[in-house]
Amino acid sequence: MAENKTHILVCGGTGCLASQADKIIENLKTEIEANDLENDVRVISTGCFGFCEKGPVIKVVPDNTFYTSVKPSDAADIVQEHLIKGRPLQRLLYKNPKNNYHVSDSSKIDFYKKQVRIALRNCGFIDPENIDEYIARDGYAALGTSLSEYTPEEVIDTIKKSGLRGRGGGGFPTGLKWEITRNVENDQKYVVCNADEGDPGAFMDRSILEGDPHSVIEAMAICGYCIGADKGLVYIRAEYPLAINRLKTALTQAREYGLLGEDILGSNFSFDIELRYGAGAFVCGEETALIHSMEGLRGEPTFKPPFPSVSGYFGKPTNVNNVETFANIPVIINKGAEWFSSIGNENSKGTKVFALAGKVNNVGLIEVPMGITLREVIFDIGGGIRDGKKFKAVQTGGPSGGCLTDKELDIPIDYDNLIKAGSMMGSGGMIVMDEDDCMVSIAKFYLEFTLDESCGKCTPCRIGNKRLHEILDKITQGKGTVEDLERLSLLSNVIKDSSLCGLGQTSPNPVLSTLKNFNEEYMAHVTEGKCPAGQCKDLLKYEIDAEMCTGCTLCFRNCPVGAITGERKQPHYINQSLCIKCGVCFQKCKFKAINII
């Protein structure tokens, strides 16, 4: 096949599509045709590359040239320079922020150096809408060998030996869950894929479904074979239209190939998958609530046991796994349990995908081996803190997790270490904060989320969190007391102990961890009425330094509420009772005469 000498891979994830990746593809194709290169060059829309910070990104292979922040209007230059003249288009190459050198080869970019891609192995590599490309990358081989060469017990044994644990948050051993579901006798069982992904800022599951939907379909079929189910359901939030479309396309193709349906690969095993749409409630990601929502009931958690494995969807044994958990399965079967368990550390094997966000230079989707340190993730892959600011904290586990400080930067990331440190793995959100972030406000932000998302079934979660939020609000207004801090921790522990589901049980974590790790900051709020990060508006005061003030009247003219008085060439003065703390005067003053106190 001498035709396609070059492939241009264009990121077609939601983020890049929003920045006109589809238009880039269209323009590239037009330019390529205009230059009679259509037999030489193929343009392929792929799943997310992960480097969302610099999106839209495109990669030209086989020379691995990586272009970032590409605009539709760049298509002509790319074709002229790279494809016709054969030299990388310098202005679109990634620039190493540390030394400003251009880097063309994606494998030499720091962002990719420490990553290991298992769950994301095909994202940004294959065309997710083409089942052949998946098959070319060993797709459905794991299903094929499982059906024809192994018994369900043997497959379960492989998964158990691999040490894979659930990536949806809890970290329950996946092989064991399959075994439990298998051992429950029933005429009907179900495989459910949890694609609810409600953690704010998280998008790993979406990216897998958008970039490699077949890997999840294949894994669900394998799971069905193992536990004895002929039916699978994907519970996916309706806000993920692209992922839904790609999944639908993939399901149709798999059926056409006979990889879903009756008598798959002549093995007598039959399996098919349906989609169920969620309305985007965080609590519906909790497995019992998810099942009730699929049954047409209110999305409220119920008491466990019975676990879904025993009594789930319409009372039938139901195996619920997360998208990323499933995406690992085919590789484990193809490459073996030993291979998988050689990656990671003692009790956490393989890799974890994180959505890296916040104040780091390279935000995006990353997949790293378990046991890597937070420092490596934030400083090597993430490229350090933006604008040369100082690292302050990192929140893992979303609204259920905690904030860790620079003291914890060197602990190896795994399920157990994060819990020991007062946070958790969660589904993989990772938000980095710098010196400008106020930790009281951060805790308040997460509680606001919890308040919105609590289903309201349990009093501690419904009312307790409301009270926590009120106390935090009081503190950010400078009206808190030292006793309030004690109340916060007492109430937090009550909520943890007396809530029914994981949402309530973990909701006080952001409060407890910030109370523990940033106690001085809370104290500054309640005893001195100060916000050290300068975020709590009510605690700020703008004052004019009479010595520095030249009386230029710039602040006077710009203050929206007329809080500033003063004669020309005389020091000005801010009337605190009128000031609304908008900060305009501070930004406008050319003589650094305005101070924030």
């Binding site: 292979v61 003249k85 070319a136 094929g144 024809s148 056409e256 006979g258």
Partner: protein, 130 residues
């Protein structure tokens, strides 16, 4: 088209593998021989495009993995078509006045056995990647 057995699946795989071979190689570039064909105006005018296609065919024919890419003018316009051959872990070697016969010779001797053949142009530059 229904896939009826694991053997069927394997057959499809080997049929479609070509489609993404280019990308697999890209991901594995350090370990594969790379051949760059100078394809600026001067190169194309002297038949570089045909030479590039021929190299790809010959590699395929021998079942060899290789990355064949085009590059800009290498500065040896007098010697076009020119190609640069990089064996894994070795310094690049540039050949000038490359013909079909020369391609066969380069593949048979240089690529397969690591022996240099006639027609080498001394490299007068260093690539600066960063």
């Amino acid at each position: 088209m229904k896939v009826k057995s694991l053997a069927d699946l394997k057959k499809i795989k080997s049929d479609v593998q070509q489609k993404i071979k280019l990308r697999e190689q890209g991901a594995n570039a350090e370990n594969i021989v790379q051949i760059k064909v100078a394809m600026a105006t001067c190169g194309i005018a002297s038949g570089a495009k045909e030479i590039m296609n021929f190299i790809i065919e010959e590699l395929d024919f021998r079942g060899l993995d290789g990355i064949v890419t085009q590059t800009g003018c290498m500065g040896y316009c007098y010697a076009e078509p020119t190609i640069e051959v990089v064996l894994p872990g070795k310094e690049p070697v540039v050949y000038g006045f490359v013909t079909r016969d020369k391609v066969m010779e380069i593949i048979d001797k240089h690529v397969m056995k690591g022996e240099l053949v006639d027609g080498i142009i001394p490299v007068s530059y260093k690539t600066i990647d960063e």
